[in-house]
C-alpha cells in the first residue's frame, strides 16, 4: 500500500482565494506555482503549522487542504522567520522552503494553498 502523501505548497497566479472563483472560472483554469516539501519537512514544520492554525483560525493537517489568505501572508512570513531563529539547522532548511513559497505569495498578493 502506498501511504506516501504529497506535501504541496502552491501559489495560484490567477485567483485570490479558492473560496471565490470568478464567474466562468473552472478548477482546471487555475495556474499554480508549486513548492513541494517532504514528509520530513512537514514534521519539522508541524509545530509552526499548529501556530498558524491557532493564529489564523485554520486547520492545516495531513490529508487536508488549507488556504492562507493574502491578508495573512505577511504575518505567516514573520512567524516563520521567528520559528527559524530558534530552530536547529535541519529544521531551518524546512523553514526556508516554506518561506520561499510564502514570499512568492506575498510578492504576487496571492494566497498560499497547502495540499497535504
Amino acid at each position: 500500500m502506498d501511504h506516501n502523501n504529497r506535501y504541496l505548497l502552491s501559489v495560484p497566479h490567477n485567483i485570490n482565494s479558492l473560496n471565490e472563483f470568478p464567474e466562468g472560472m473552472l478548477w482546471e483554469d487555475i495556474e499554480f506555482e508549486d513548492f513541494e516539501i517532504s514528509e520530513v519537512d512537514y514534521d519539522n514544520l508541524f509545530d509552526l503549522f499548529c501556530q498558524f492554525n491557532q493564529e489564523f483560525d485554520i486547520f492545516i493537517d495531513e490529508y487536508e487542504e488549507e488556504e492562507i489568505t493574502p491578508d495573512k501572508i505577511q504575518a505567516a512570513v514573520k512567524m516563520t522567520e521567528e520559528y527559524a531563529k530558534k530552530a536547529p539547522a535541519e529544521v531551518k532548511k524546512s523553514t526556508e522552503k516554506l518561506l520561499s513559497a510564502l514570499r512568492r505569495a506575498a510578492d504576487l498578493s496571492k494566497p498560499l494553498e497547502l495540499f497535504f
Partner: protein, 141 residues
C-alpha cells in the same frame, strides 16, 4: 463481510494510547480533534463497514500516524480514516497533486454546476465539506 469498524476502533485506541508516550503524535491527534469539533456537523455520516466494503473491499486497516487506511490491493482508492476526528475521506491515488478526495459516490469535485447550467470551480470550503465523512458510532449503525 469484514468488520472494518472494529478494525478502525481498535487501531484508533492503539494510536491514542501511543500518543500518551509520543508528544508529536498527541499534538497531531489534538489538531484533528479540534478540526472535527469545528466541522463535524457539516460532514455526511457513513457506516464504515458499508463504505469500506464498497470502496476498499477485502482490505485490512493499516496504521499511518494519526490515520488508519483501508485499500484493496491494486486499487487506486484509499479510505483514509482519522484516528482522533472520527472521520474518513476517500482518496484517488492516481490524482497526484490537488483535489484528490472524492465525494461519497466516488466523484471528483473540481467544479460544480450553477442553477443556470454554467460550471464554476468549487470553493474549498464546499469541497472540504463534501469530502469528509463522519464515521457512525457502533450504536448508530
Amino acid at each position: 463481510m469484514s468488520d472494518s469498524k472494529s478494525q478502525y476502533s481498535s487501531g484508533s485506541a492503539g494510536q491514542k494510547a501511543l500518543a500518551q508516550l509520543d508528544a508529536s503524535l498527541k499534538k497531531k491527534l489534538d489538531n484533528a480533534s479540534a478540526r472535527a469539533a469545528r466541522f463535524h456537523t457539516n460532514w455526511q455520516p457513513v457506516n464504515l463497514n458499508d463504505f469500506v466494503d464498497r470502496f476498499a473491499p477485502g482490505s485490512t486497516a493499516q496504521r499511518s500516524g494519526s490515520k488508519i487506511i483501508f485499500q484493496t490491493d491494486g486499487s487506486n482508492l484509499q479510505v483514509v480514516c482519522d484516528v482522533a476526528a472520527g472521520s474518513c475521506r476517500m482518496k484517488d491515488t492516481t490524482i497526484h497533486s490537488r483535489r484528490c478526495y472524492l465525494d461519497i459516490n466516488g466523484n471528483v469535485l473540481g467544479n460544480k454546476t450553477l442553477p443556470g447550467g454554467k460550471q464554476i470551480g468549487r470553493p474549498i470550503e464546499e469541497y472540504n465539506a463534501m469530502t469528509h465523512f463522519r464515521i457512525l458510532k457502533r450504536e448508530e449503525m
